[in-house]
């Protein structure tokens, strides 16, 4: 396949960037999107140019580091697929592909397609854990949890923290990420004890970096793990309860 790429190039956080055009020739349809970028980079290096900086780690859709905007959609055109899992066969020979980093004040650009997603870490630090030792793997089997509840918690736990929800949201809101992280703990007995403290503090940090949700549902369609906005409704309900319950301790 031969493709024309428009890639956002930006040398550092505080310098202006712009799109640069590259011809990606002789790309296998079975290559992943990142392998295609690797090839382009290899050729750039041989020509003595700076390679395109992009984040990646697992390349199997579980670490969440590889997200970029592909033709105006986070992680590209295929639903439920992270950039690293996207194959070039989803494109047609001769296509032009525009690649841009996430845009959000909470995700400043570090270089080219790489953004700093550390506010997500801060949200997790604010309560995305259980404060007591819940035991070893086998101890999980001592607590009975209905199958439906376990499944729902698992759906939420599928979040890989890639930031596509923020990137997709016209308001730059991080509701889908935060609500998924909350639900995966809050739904289970081990996490339930700290449900309201956790909800209040994680939402607090979220609001200090990101925008406010207007229920457009764009995040849900961009999520590579197809996490439902039902979790956002759950978070909204818990948050008001949390504010009421925690009102004296504030």
């Amino acid at each position: 396949m031969n493709l024309t790429l428009q890639v956002w190039r930006q040398a550092g956080p505080d310098v202006p960037g712009s799109f640069a055009t590259y011809e990606a020739t002789d790309i296998s349809a079975d290559a992943s999107f990142l392998e295609m970028l690797d090839l382009v980079n290899e050729r750039l290096v041989l020509d003595g140019d700076e390679p395109i900086e992009f984040s990646h780690d697992c390349r199997e859709g579980i670490c969440g580091s590889c997200g970029v905007m592909i033709n105006g959609v986070p992680h590209g055109p295929q639903r439920g697929t992270a950039t690293c899992q996207l194959h070039m066969r989803t494109f047609a020979d001769g296509d032009e592909i525009v690649i841009e980093p996430w845009r959000a004040s909470g995700f400043p650009i570090v270089k080219d397609l790489v953004v700093d997603r550390s506010p997500f870490d801060e949200i997790i630090q604010a309560g995305g854990y259980v404060t007591v030792d819940t035991g070893q793997a086998q101890d999980a089997n001592l607590t009975q949890i209905p199958k439906e509840t376990a499944d729902l918690a698992m759906d939420a736990a599928a979040c890989i923290g890639c930031g596509a929800c923020v990137a997709a949201c016209p308001n730059g809101a991080a509701q889908l990420f935060t609500s998924a992280k909350l639900a995966h703990l809050n739904l289970l007995p081990q996490g339930d004890a700290e449900r309201y403290e956790r909800t209040e503090s994680m939402v607090g940090v979220m609001e200090s970096y990101f925008g406010s949700c207007t229920n457009m549902g764009e995040c849900e369609t961009a999520c590579p793990k197809e996490i439902s906005i039902d979790f956002i409704a759950m978070m909204n309900k818990d948050y008001v309860k949390a504010k009421f319950r925690n009102r004296r301790s504030a």
Partner: protein
């Protein structure tokens, strides 16, 4: 290497929580403002539905709607409350709801602008965000301007807006106003904007208030469409009826 630091979107809260009532504290947060918008939106919706239904009386002639408007002013809960008292309670409630709704919308819009100071430099393709949801701010502003015009036109009878206005003659006033084609056109346009606004609003409020149940979620869309079609259909019929001579 220079490091980028993520910018914050929050307006720092006025200090000393704990001394502030929890409901005020809640309104200080973005999620709390969304709650306030949903609840004030429900109040507004209730009013809009009642307003449309009441106006259907114009199809039964001048006496019917004039009598109804007289009752709204003098007869609501009379004699439990003195004349016009209940009307003013409702009016103050609506004004409060409108103020909260607009203030919260403004504050959240500012926050959202801060959350993405530099937009996408390439074309953005939306998958789920529909026209109604992306134009809430604009349809909201149109409705707000319309409310001001509508009050001047038919409630206060401001000379410059509706020169033929007379106290107590609801039917004659609305016919005089809506038989002017530009005014009728503005009523039609404003109601289309209102339709887009309540269509997204009705769906959205369930999400905001956390009234989410997987068994009923699929009905939220239908409810939003149904209410919107009925209310806006009724409202659109009024200027059309006057223009075509059905009413008047």
């Amino acid at each position: 290497m220079a490091t980028a630091s993520p910018a914050t979107t929050a307006t720092p809260p006025p200090q000393a929580p704990g001394q502030v009532p929890w409901i005020v504290q809640l309104y200080g947060t973005a999620l709390g403002k969304k709650y306030a918008m949903a609840i004030s939106g429900i109040l507004g919706l209730g009013y809009i539905v009642a307003h449309m239904v009441g106006n259907l009386k114009m199809y039964f002639g001048a006496e019917s709607i004039d009598g109804y408007s007289e009752w709204l002013r003098e007869g609501l809960l009379y004699p439990i409350l003195p004349h016009t008292v209940m009307l003013w309670i409702l009016r103050l409630g609506l004004i409060a709801a409108l103020v909260v709704h607009v203030h919260a919308a403004y504050a959240l819009t500012v926050m959202n602008r801060r959350a993405r100071p530099t937009g996408y430099q390439s074309e953005r393709h939306y998958v789920a965000a529909d026209f109604a949801s992306r134009t809430m701010r604009w349809t909201g502003v149109i409705v707000l301007l319309f409310i001001a015009f509508h009050l001047a036109d038919l409630t206060w009878g401001v000379e410059a807006v509706n020169p033929a206005w007379e106290e107590g003659a609801a039917y004659a006033n609305l016919v005089a106003s809506l038989s002017r084609p530009p005014v009728a056109a503005f009523y039609l346009l404003a109601n289309l904007a209102l339709g887009l606004h309540i269509y997204h609003g009705i769906w959205s409020l369930f999400q905001t208030l956390g009234w989410n149940n997987r068994r009923f979620n699929s009905y939220r869309r239908s409810l939003a469409i149904g209410v919107t079609v009925v209310v806006i259909g009724g409202n659109l019929s009024f200027p059309i009826a006057v223009l075509t001579g059905v009413v008047g």
